[in-house]
Structure formats: C-alpha cells, structure tokens
Amino acid sequence: MGKEKIKINPEFYDIMPVEYQELVEEGTYGKEDRGWKDVGESKELIEEHSLCAGCPESIAFRYVLACLPAPEDTIMVGSTGCTSLVFPHVAVHNIHSLFGNQNAVASGLKRALSYRFPDKVKDVVVLAGDGATVDIGLDMTLQSWFRQEKFTTICFDNELYANTGGQSSGLMQKGFVAKMAPAGKKFDKVNLPEIAKVSGCHYVAKMTVSKPNRVEKAIRQAILIAREVGPTYIQLYTPCILEIGKQMMEGLQEMRDSEGPNKRFEFEEYISEEAKAYLETIDPKKKKKKAITA
C-alpha cells in the first residue's frame, strides 16, 4: 500500500502544510525494513507535541513509530494520560478511548477490521500509560488477553499518574513517595509481565528504552506474533522525570540505572512455544536455509 493513501493531488500540492508534504516525500510508509535507523534521514511519523522537554515518553514514541512494521495498515488505540498529548500529532490512524477502555476498544476494532478487510493484514496496537493499563483498565487489559484477542498492548510505565500530578499507580515501587502520594506506596509493584504470561500473552517483554535496537526487535516480534498467534504485551520504562525530581537531561541515565542485573527493569522476554514456531516460519535466514537444503 505504501504512500498511495496519502498522496497529494498535484493541483493542491502547494497549499498543503509543509509537514504533510514532508511526510509524503520522506515518510517511511511501505518501507520493508523500516526501523529506528531511519531516524535523522527520513521524516518521522510524529510532529511537535507538548510533552515536557527531555521526557523519555517522547523517546519511546519515536522508536515505537519508527519500528511499526506497517504503519499505513496500523491503527493505534490510546488512552488518557501524557501519551494522549502526543497522539493528535502522530501520522498513524489512532483512536482515543475513555481512560482504561483501550483494550476493549482495540478488541472490537480488531474484529471489525477483520470483517471489513478479510484479505488484508491490519495491525492494532494499544499504547497507554501504567495507570490506564494496570489500574483503571486492568479488567479490560486482562479480559482481552484471556479472550486471545490478536493485538499488541504497549504500556509506557512511568510508575505513577504523571498527567494528573503524581498519584501512585499499581506499577509504582513500594515505598515510593510522590507529590500526590505523600504517605508512600503501600504495596509491591504489580508484576504485570508475569501476569501477562499466565493470562495468555504469546510474547511478553519488559525493558527501558535506552537501547533502540532492543525496542525495535521487541515491537516487531510483538506485532508479527499478534497478527497470527495471539495477544502480546510490552512494558517500557519511560520515567516521568518531572515527578521523580530529575533534570531534563537525566532521563536516559535514569533508564540505564534501572536496567542493570536484578534491577526492576532488567530486560526480560518470554515467547510461547506456539509463537516461537511461528517466528521460525517467517525468519528469512531459516527460510533460505530450508530452500538450500531442499
């Protein structure tokens, strides 16, 4: 499909905003091997937005959008929170859902798309904060996994409710004190990756966004597995520098400090047997080998 859908009628070219012209000229829609390495030399599918200067959620958004395997055939579902300040500036179809409802909306959307476009692959990707995913939307998150809905859920885990000033969330660390959680978090950080595994997710990954190649691999695998096998879940640490008292330029170091051995964001990945078998069938290297031996 590529850029067919967004091509500008030549008659109107000069009155289109320059940002749109750039998307058509230099956007990476339809590019087979798109990935984070395209940044800096192509037009990213994201425009200026109002997240705080230095916010790691912004970095994560860049990588996620650069790595979607087929942005022109992807519909993202967002929820309320800092992430929702970015979606209006994203050049991929997206739906804003009521806080917490994102996985229910995505379930209906994915099913409707498979009726409407039976011969096409349409990827549905949920992207929401930790409050939306694990507190207010936990019911919807889990039910979609139990029902084996075929889409990817990405949680931007900043360990609190950032957009409303720093209330505690289920993913906040035990004992952490925030502006609107002065008594300190009373219970352990909910282990959502573990819960995702036992709830039926076929691919689960937890990491910070300090290594774009790792994020790229996870996003691609999660989306490809969700197309054919079942639900997938990625949890990315995107610290809210504002609410944890860090300076603008300290987000990257905060992520690096939190991903070492035995730290709470040490890289973890789970792939179900079914998903592993599926990945083998689409691995170009393995395919080549097979062709040679045959």
Partner: protein
C-alpha cells in the same frame, strides 16, 4: 530568551557513523543528518533545549553540541 542546541560542525563525527544525538533526542525530526555536509544538524524551531544531546555527545568525548541562547 530560550536555549537551543547547536552542533559545532568541525567537531561532529557523524561522517564516521555517529548518530548518538539523533537517536536520543526526545523530539522527533529535530536533529537530522545533513547528507551534504555529513554532520548532525539541529532544527531549532523544534528543539526544547533539554540538553540530552549535549550529554550523550560529551560522554562519548566528542563535545560537538552546546546549548546557545536565542
């Protein structure tokens, strides 16, 4: 007055493959690789002055970006 990042062309080693600032700048389409001059280039109107590019460039000992006031 506000702060924006500026690349010192003579010190930038993007020509040798460095992309650190481009990769870690939180803002999209803000530090671009200038294909003609083969250096990193800041799109000033998009820069939020967070200084992360300065940190990554200087920790790699290139010291090729500074913040300037406009």
């Amino acid at each position: 007055m506000y702060a924006v990042a500026e690349v010192i062309d003579d010190l930038c080693v993007a020509n040798k493959g460095c992309r650190l600032c481009i990769m870690y700048c939180p803002e999209a389409n803000t530090i671009m690789f200038n294909k003609e001059n083969r250096v990193a280039e800041v799109v000033e109107q998009r820069c939020k002055g967070c200084e992360l590019c300065v940190v990554v460039c200087s920790s790699a000992k290139h010291n090729a970006i500074t913040l300037v006031h406009r």
